[in-house]
């Protein structure tokens, strides 16, 4: 079975500061990796995903993530955050060649302060 751990439940940062949201996964088979964002009163929206190829993946709104197979990590980064990035961020995996089921982490609440 797969599992996803997001170590930080809350991350407060100041506007224009860099941020890293951590995600580690556990799986006995190869996985695909996803980051979703949930703004208040909205559904989950895909930020980016890693399927194969370059381990550095760029997504929407200036976010990027790096897949590290040896450390089983897929940390999300942004060099300079805005107030509008305040949201909850979810890391998720599916198994390659397996089901469509997304397995989620508990989420990280990012709060960007002025």
């Amino acid at each position: 079975a797969q599992s996803v751990t997001q170590l930080d439940s809350q991350v407060p940062v100041f506007e224009e500061a860099p941020v890293e949201l951590r995600c580690n996964y556990s799986s006995s088979v190869s996985v695909y990796l996803f980051w979703y964002v949930q703004y208040p009163n909205q559904g989950l929206q895909l930020l980016l995903k890693y399927l194969s190829g370059s381990t550095l993946v760029k997504g929407i709104n200036g976010f990027e993530a790096e897949f590290n197979k040896s450390q089983t990590s897929f940390h999300l980064r942004k060099p300079s955050v805005h107030i509008s990035d305040t949201a909850e961020y979810f890391c998720a995996v599916t198994t390659q060649g397996g089901s469509e089921k997304l397995v989620f982490g508990k989420g990280t609440k990012l709060t960007v302060n002025p």
């Binding site: 695909y32 559904g43 895909l46 089921k101």
Partner: protein, 117 residues
């Protein structure tokens, strides 16, 4: 931009009552899903639906749950006899269903918050 919609946004019900949560997936999508998030816990997969049948379900999805695509646009989740522990946010999602094998982007609705009293 097409989006997944869900109704109602909030539902309050008494324990033992039946509830139906409704979703309208993106129109050209073929794969449909229900997930739920109990307050303070992870988003959990409940069921996936493809070609008018359940393709996968979790251990949470027991006999009190059912899904249906009653027409060409709606996708519903029915809970026959609600329990207190069914209180959660329920998310519907859909995907194109072409690539398969876990690669697909799933598009989520805004959720229905269900409270069972």
């Amino acid at each position: 931009e097409p989006e997944v919609t869900q109704t109602p946004s909030h539902q309050v019900t008494q324990m033992g009552q039946e509830v139906i949560l409704r979703c309208v997936p993106i129109s050209n999508h073929l794969y449909f899903y229900w997930y739920r998030q109990i307050l303070g816990q992870k988003v959990e997969f409940l069921v996936s639906f493809y070609n008018n049948e359940i393709s996968e379900k979790s251990e949470i999805f027991d006999d009190q749950f059912s899904v249906e695509r009653p027409d060409g646009s709606n996708f519903t989740l029915k809970i026959r006899s609600t329990k207190l522990e069914d209180s959660a946010m329920y998310f519907c999602a859909s995907s194109l269903g072409l690539a398969g094998g876990g690669q697909e982007t799933q598009y989520f609705g805004p959720g229905t918050r269900l409270l069972v009293l």
